[in-house]
Assembly symmetry: C2
Homo-oligomer: 181 residues x 2
């Protein structure tokens, strides 16, 4: 197993517990609010992470190993989190994310990927050729982009309450940068 | 105790455990690296959070209660984290942050602040008049701005490894926005 893959897995293992420690039991003013029309709440972000575990990272890993570039990935449905969120409250979503992530990592370990496997190519419907190594690094970076988003959604809720200090708080100036998932 | 203060305290209580769950035991490629010359590592951010507990939030709270606007706050030394970091490793910094935060919150609770107290004014050396309520909301928002920064520092380390996916990862496009502390 490559050095970079071990680093990614070390982060992937920790994200569910980190989100749990940050979010479980927090007042809903932090977790069920958003940044304006058509933006996500923290709970929605967690549902999106669950969705990724079930339909993105390990399914695409297996897709590359099975099909290579011969068949592009199924496009990821940006609204698919709705099916995972439904009327669930955040504690249940945190439990489901932890469970899905643990299972995904177990499946990843069971593949015993070699350096040669990591160089295998797949075809992304929008990005074209990608490698399995790219995909697995992106899995970890995707956790970080949503941690970044969560901190920004939460900070948005106190943008007035901080008074003149808003000027000194970088997170208040972050407009979000995502193009797609 | 005001509603907003309770919400801030709920977050302030959780940040040390969240950072601990995310960071303890992570490979140093995530925690001891930075975003380029004159930028901070994740460990440095944790040292800065310790510094804030000792020299910013509760000291300024007491300053407002004692002096009001009659005396401005002592300016916060942006490089003061160096005194708290020295040659300590991240696990020790995480322990010290958790300890300092728990103590700060205990002191805050002991003040039994009233709504009238929260409206009391102080003088920031650069921002001018601020209220105790502004200060305490900023304490929580400051945790979020550094969680935002930590996710960005870490994502920076895999900006090449993710290949073409960088385009879809908002955190990769966040240039940092802080002006001062």
């Amino acid at each position: 197993m490559g050095y970079e893959l071990e680093n990614s897995m070390a982060l992937l293992e920790r994200t569910p517990a980190a989100l749990d420690a940050l979010l479980r039991g927090l007042p809903e003013v932090w977790t069920e609010t958003h940044e304006g029309a058509d933006t996500w709440s923290v709970s929605t972000v967690v549902a999106h992470l669950i969705h990724g575990e079930h339909e993105d990272w390990m399914p695409r890993t297996r897709h590359i190993l099975e099909w290579g570039e011969a068949q592009p990935f199924t496009p990821f449905d940006r609204e698919g989190h709705v099916r995972y969120k439904r009327d669930k409250r955040l504690p249940q979503l945190l439990d489901e994310f932890a469970q899905a992530r643990a299972q995904g990592l177990e499946e990843l370990r069971a593949l015993q990927l070699t350096t040669q496997d990591l160089g295998r190519r797949g075809r992304h419907p929008a990005l074209g050729t990608v490698t399995l190594s790219d995909l697995l690094a992106t899995w970890a970076a995707h956790d970080l982009t949503h941690l970044h988003q969560i901190s920004r959604i939460m900070a948005h809720q106190v943008r007035e309450a901080v008074g003149p200090w808003a000027r000194f708080l970088g997170v208040m100036k972050c407009g979000g940068h995502s193009e797609a998932a």
